[in-house]
Symmetry: C2
Subunit: 124 residues, 2 copies
DNA sequence: TTTTAATACCTTGTGTCGCAAAGTACTGAA
DNA sequence: TTCAGTACTTTGCGACACAAGGTATTAAAA
């Protein structure tokens, strides 16, 4: 269990890295309020908690990537539905590229051999 | 340029998330010293600097995932070559799975539609 | 009518960690 | 014996995720 902590820790780190990206991706498919975002991410094993999400949503809103509207709930207090702005969509596209590049980067380190080629090309 | 900072920031976050994993991957292909690790990661566009790497290597060594040996340099002071331990290899395998799961998770949010299925399955 | 339970949003404090910057040390050539 | 190059290390700061606790709304139960 001491051993597991190392991997668990690194797993958490990885998830953190894609948090903003994940949220934008979820909102690209439709407007959501905080709890439903948490649920959707949980469904794909990306764990986020309230204390993380709320400040993040506010940050993204202040950056102009998101906006929100209030909407009545069938039960309980009103919900704050977040939606992605045009600016948000544009940034999301860039993050998409970034993500794909990262996947490619990891792939090439994983298969070790290619690295010498890349290194040779860059070192000239 | 204000706009770029958002993406740049998120890009950095993503890279951070895979730092430990990347280092273990590099060392799986062979022993390396700090500067050469930095170079190899730079070759695949994963930027790491000394102030980040040294503490990280020490942390991984203290966790028993890495060990090192000193080796003469053809020029300059001796180099600390890090190598991955058996424990490190075992943990790396788990990180490999973690990474693949993350890639799958992101893929499924990206294609939005699948999410309702997953949600329906989990909510019963 | 007031208590409880459920839902939802928000804030504070703490710990971790990446990174810029500055420092130490070894080597060999000028 | 100074300088330049290489390599390892440490310190201080800032950002951020997250646990924990807090506020507000609603409706049903007591």
């Amino acid at each position: 269990m001491e051993t597991n902590t190392i991997v668990e820790n690194s797993r958490t780190q990885m998830r953190r890295g894609v948090l903003e990206y994940s949220i934008l991706l979820v909102l690209r498919s439709g407007d959501e309020y905080a709890s439903s975002i948490i649920q959707k991410l949980k469904d794909v094993d990306i764990i986020v908690v309230e204390g993380t999400l709320y400040p993040l949503l506010i940050r993204l809103k202040n950056l102009g990537l998101l906006s929100y509207r209030w909407e009545e709930s069938p039960q309980g207090p009103p919900r704050k539905y977040y939606m992605i702005t045009d600016k948000g969509k544009q940034q999301l596209e860039e993050l998409d590229s970034t993500w794909q590049e990262l996947v490619r980067s990891i792939d090439s380190i994983r298969s070790g051999a290619q690295m010498q080629i890349a290194a040779a090309e860059n070192n000239q």
